[in-house]
Amino acid sequence: MSAGPAMRRSAAARTLHMVALTGLAIVVAFPVYWMIVLAMTPLGFSRQITSILPSDLTFDNFASLVVERPMLRWLWNSTLVATLSSGISMLIGLSCGYALSRLRFRGSYVVLVLVLASQMVPSTSILVPLYTLFMDLGLLNTIHGVVIGHISLVLPLAIWMSKGFFDSLPEELEGAARLDGCSRLGALWFVAIPLVSPGLAAIFVYGFVTSWNDFLFPRHFVQSENLWTAAAGLTSFRGEYFTLFEPQMAASIVFAFPVVVLFFFLQRRMVSGSLTGGVK
């Protein structure tokens, strides 16, 4: 009897919980659903919405991406830019992070703070200085210009992340490796890198997604449509007076797909816990 009100309250709380979670799920999932619906309906559907269900289904929008626009080319550019910029950021971040974590040198703290400060500058505010710099260096309208621009976006956090991973690795492991016949570099290669590899995967994914999603640099540093990345390409559906929503949504799906696949394959590598048992 005394349990009655408590039970009722918990049932009410559970219902409230369910309602809130369902509402949240709808808020999160609806844009994705709407993107898919628009992508698969004939041109003009979005202008005369009568139902949230599609009336006709078509794949024309996807076909038009390849036929009317260089979408495959853009995706290839994106893949190139994202892979190169995140890969290079990962390598530089790895060596910088290792040095900042393991070597004692004057000014290391200042370096760390400066690196962090550069992360705090919004990319929009460095766009114009970078533009003039790239103009002088002849990097405008090139793929490698965009790669370098993206490295500058990704690297500060990559360095910090990598330093954190090395900090969490007990120094004795490398000490043991050095006594066992490794040079410093050997200890890094044979012992430290295998153990921080989940962290390196995380840095790679972070860099890849940042570069893949960035629209600012490719759109402003590159004039020729052929060299655009997919993110910049997405804006080509938007004209001065109207936007081709349906093909744009089809392009958005194609654009989002590689990142989802990348996450799917790398998530297992990113799960840590591989350190257990080495020390203590």
């Binding site: 004795e172 044979f190 591989s274």
Partner: protein, 351 residues
Amino acid sequence: MAPIKITSLRKAFNAVEVVHGVDITVEDGEFCVFVGPSGCGKSTILRMVAGLEGVTSGEIRLGDRLINDLPPKDRDIAMVFQNYALYPHLTVEDNIGFPLRMRGVDREVIRAEVRRVSEIIGLQDLLARHPRQLSGGQRQRVAMGRAIVRNPQAFLFDEPLSNLDAQLRVQMRTQIRELHQRIRTTTIYVTHDQVEAMTMADRIVVLKDGHVEQSGPPLEIYDRPANAFVARFIGSPSMNLFTGALTEQGVRLDDGAVLPLPKRYGATGTAQYGVRPEHLEIVEIGTPGSFEAEVAVVEPTGAETMIFARRNGQDVTATFRMRPAVKPGDRVALKPDVDTIHLFGETGRLD
């Protein structure tokens, strides 16, 4: 195998000097234990011998070679770390074989060597496991296996047993000792546990605040500690020390009791009178040369009975083979065995 000779070794971190000109020689094949309270510099010295820490000044020689500036990999020294430092991503077999692999030894030879070593340390059935699948004692043995597989000129142990439970610690102590008797490699073993030092060492080096306080065989250090610090640090339970004025009759304590001396000492002034717990006997109250104390706790361990008493606010410990009929609250008179007492002045031992 080779002797290790450390001469005027100093180590400073920025402006702070932590090792102040230390001289230690570890003979060929000797098992030498560095012991001291935490912060005494024992691990720092060990890491300098290993090459993981730079030398500020002084010399470290392994055999005839000056190894100060050699990278760790070229020193031919193996080390067992306090936290084992096993490679978590490698199996036991690959952990033990790692030093050989790094030296480019043939794969088949590595397999054979790993097998040989794993039999010595009793891990032959666990070779395929990863470190996370092993118990603490097994991990410890893998770390030892990795050290012995390459026949180094010297072994270094940095508090290797401090992460194990008491029973396993005693067991591993014996195993390490046995292993050393079998392979006779020059060994430096660092610990803060003086029981480990006493039971394992051929020679003990007692360190404090970056200085060597005393160095010698365990029983010599136990029987003739060079100063009050060593006297108190070595031995369990530790030595009773009473501070008083040195007079012709003996050491006069502040409550008037006079503790007897075996002979006359020329010196005068303040002295510390040391007597080990096993060198006290219970006598009739009022016996000359005895002092009174109030029993606080009686601890029978079976073989011995330990009595913790209090004299003028100071703790006194005494151990007895026989089982004295005293209980907490009793007043007893304790008399030091005058031939075994220790007397320390400000600079050290007085005889």
